[in-house]
């Protein structure tokens, strides 16, 4: 059994005077999650590219720093994945490493569905015009509710 003083010594070695502040950090990370995710992915991509190029051209974080005219500490900060990078910085890294880190989609890619107030759709045709019923509902968003049904057979 360990002595009390020895326990205390061992315990003191493990603890710090500073508060961990994990809650503040966690709330901050939660609030900034969207860009932090992107920053982390960019950091992983940069590190893996450095690893790939190292045996070929001796690429290092220091070399990138020199080519970008910034301090190696700054590059080290970037590869930790918690840096809010500017487009200028990203472009410079892309140019030094010869890779593409981000791109902008050419087409409109919808990532978030915007809710439009729902309108109660009444059948545009009478019950005896069953053959048009499905068609009417399908295109309802493109036509006024009381507009005549377009005749697709003549189109």
């Amino acid at each position: 059994m360990m002595k009390k003083s020895e326990n205390r010594k061992n315990f003191d070695k493990l603890i710090s005077d500073k508060k961990s502040g994990w809650l503040d950090d966690a709330v901050w990370m939660e609030t900034n999650e969207a860009w932090l995710d992107k920053s982390a992915h960019i950091a992983i991509r940069i590190l893996s590219e450095i690893h790939r190029q190292k045996p070929i051209n001796g690429m290092t974080q220091k070399k990138i720093a020199k080519a970008m005219d910034v301090s190696p500490q700054y590059i080290n900060k970037i590869v930790k994945g918690k840096e809010n990078l500017t487009l200028e910085t990203i472009s410079k890294i892309e140019s030094v490493l010869g890779i593409k880190l981000i791109s902008v989609e050419k087409e409109n890619v919808i990532t978030k569905q915007i809710k439009v107030p729902t309108q109660v759709a009444k059948p545009l045709v009478s019950k005896n015009q069953k053959e048009y019923t499905n068609l009417s509902y399908q295109f309802i968003s493109n036509y006024q509710l009381n507009e005549p049904i377009p005749n697709y057979s003549q189109a």
């Binding site: 009390k4 061992n10 493990l14 939660e30 982390a40 992983i44």
Partner: protein
Amino acid sequence: MAYFNLTKENAVKETIYEAKQFRKELLKCRHKQDKLKLLFEKLSYNNAYELLLKQKSKRKWLRIYAIRIDENCFLVTGGAIKLTQTMNERKHTNEELVKLEKVRNYLNDNNVFDFDSLNDMKSEL
């Protein structure tokens, strides 16, 4: 060594994802402290617990280690990536075991056995 045929990059991404889930679960416990006990699983080691994501996944390797002091009071001692069956098999997880042991001994020596006695000890420090 290949683990689940993962690339290094994907392993890092999965670890980041796991850490994020831990953070979210722990943040939820800010207002519902009784949920804390549901997050931790008991280790075979005396009174020690580990935080393990209880979602269905083939691979989960991130762990947070803690000593349970009261029903919903855990003293976190550290964390690790655990890839082996037992904690003794690797140096870094074995160190976590040593930490757990040291903290447990310290708490025992200071008569910490519940939330109130923990607060008493803190005020005496």
